[in-house]
Amino acid sequence: MKNKLLTYLFPKRDICRSIVVSLALLATTVQAETVFVSLEKDNALASIDPIEGKLIKTVPIGQRPRGLALSSDNKFLFVATSDDNTIRMLDAETLKELAKLPSGKDPETFALSPNGEKLYVSNEDDSLVTVIDLTTKKAVHEIKVGVEPEGITISPDNQWLISASETTNMVHWIDTKTNVIVENTLVDPRPRAVNFTADSQQLWVTSEMAGTVMVLDAKTKQPIKTIKLEVEGVTFDKIQPVGVVIDKERKHAYIALGPANRVAVINAQTYEIEKVLLVGQRVWNLAFSPDQKRLYTTNGTSNDISIIDLDTQTVTKSVGVGTYPWGVAVKP
């Protein structure tokens, strides 16, 4: 009886239901995420809607912003404003500045501990890594490392802090509990970026001058593979790998090849280069979308970011963002 009445009142109930279900599906599949990009020359921070492929807004941030990271709870955004000699802590929602952290001179890159308690900054000019306590917002320690430290990362299990020294050609394995260098590994010339696999078992290091990426075993701290990056039709001098990211399942690693204007897709099991994707000019840093279905690249001299669909491994769009995009972070 009830069903008959409903059919009488809403004869096209099935259609209505399917519309509601479709809308609900649409709402769940197309989740909005925001891509933050630091603009080195514009002294600004850009927010981009990557689904729409549009620049939402640009806000002034400080002098020469470069390194960029979100806290693990996505509440805070940290931006290294190099020429202001500080790291700014912002509310990730409103982009209001909450604090200025004592980063030391000329901060460029930094790493956040997975528990959100510490922030580690590379001080290139002083050959130091500064440790900042995020609770007190004070520098609590300085670790002497090799000459020109740049790439810096922390293993997801919070055991190792890695600092790569560009001139010393070394990565330093620092125990996060003691802040002491436990071991140094010699790598190819001019190591730029470092990143761990999600299981903390491997460390991937890009070497700008050698045009290679080295895969180090976290237990032995020795290289297990050196991958020579080559692109058909592109001269060797243009292949200068910088940013590196590896997906959660360790199926693929993606490497920004700098002035080669390409991103290399590497099979993280066989270490073979599977594909090379053309992006904007001087591709620098990379970041995954939270669901790891897309990859965002900052293209320094073409003033845009490229969006890569990882299911099809194709570049779908490049969006103009401002002058000299450098760092990239993605908020769900």
Binding site: G233, K238, A260, L278, V279, Q281, S306, I307, T316, S318
Partner: protein, 272 residues
């Protein structure tokens, strides 16, 4: 004359042309060799070019071979349009067109059927070319493959009509070399098939204007946009307009009482 007569004549002409193309393996292969040489050899030389600036319909950076693919589709249609229309010079004297022209159907209809037949062949060639290009990692969105069909039909008709127009002026098939040098090559090189308009503008304002108003450029742009699932209204109207103009002049040209046939005859008799 009933509709059935027209239909039978048109399907006969188109079917015959398609059948000829499919069964003549040498013709089929040689039609594909030209664009494939351009793609694999010429474009490969420019692979080192580190991407082209983004211009619609592209939304990101592309390799040079991706850029010239629609241009090579246009090239296939340009050569096919010229060849099939110019073969009418021979056909008119010796082949099937001689019989057709004396049949009781309207002359414009016969010309249009012949044009459609040539266009159908060129569309087939383009699809085979696109299939080979996809094996070379040149992909377009899936919908682009069917959206390009009306664009190819229109551009094929326009280029075929241009060929018809030229063939109405040509006395002998030997003049094809002249058509190559004075029509096909300038049309192809002074277009957006090989370089984007903004790039041509950087080198020469005159070339830029010539390329912009070249109907072949517009046909290529129509194809390019359609391949990426977009509709370029300006290119469509320009191509359609060019087709109407060329077709009208060709029909007049083929009219024995008014057109070039008359003049040709006069010329021939005075020569003899």
């Amino acid at each position: 004359m009933s509709f059935l007569h027209y239909w039978r004549a048109m399907s006969g002409i188109v079917g015959r042309e398609l059948w000829r193309f499919v069964t003549q393996r040498e013709r089929f292969i040689s039609a594909l060799v030209r664009p494939l040489v351009w793609l694999f050899v010429f474009a490969a030389g420019f692979r080192a070019a580190l991407g082209l600036a983004i211009s619609p319909p592209y939304e990101t950076y592309i390799l040079y071979e991706v850029y010239i693919t629609p241009g090579l589709c246009g090239m296939i249609q340009l050569f096919n349009g010229m060849q099939s229309s110019l073969s009418m010079v021979y056909d008119r004297e010796m082949g099937s067109m001689r019989t057709l022209l004396v049949c009781p159907l309207q002359r414009w209809f016969l010309l249009l059927s012949k044009l459609l037949a040539g266009t159908a062949v060129s569309v087939l060639q383009v699809y085979v070319f696109l299939a080979i290009a996809s094996l070379y990692d040149i992909h377009v969105p899936l919908k682009g493959y069917w959206m390009v069909l009306p664009a190819l039909l229109l551009s094929g008709l326009m280029l075929g009509a241009l060929g018809l127009l030229l063939s109405s002026f040509i006395k002998q098939l030997e003049n094809f070399a002249g058509v190559m040098n004075f029509v096909i090559f300038p049309m192809f090189f002074m277009s957006t098939a090989l370089y984007p308009l903004w790039k041509i503008k950087e080198s020469s304002a005159l070339l830029y204007n010539l390329a912009q108003y070249n109907p072949f450029s517009q046909a290529v742009e129509l194809t390019r946009f359609a391949l990426y699932g977009q509709f370029n209204l300006h290119a469509c109207l320009y191509t359609l307009g060019s087709f109407i103009v060329c077709m009208t002049i060709a029909i007049i040209g083929y009219n024995p009482s008014k057109g070039m046939m008359m003049k040709k005859k006069g010329g021939e008799s005075s020569n003899s």
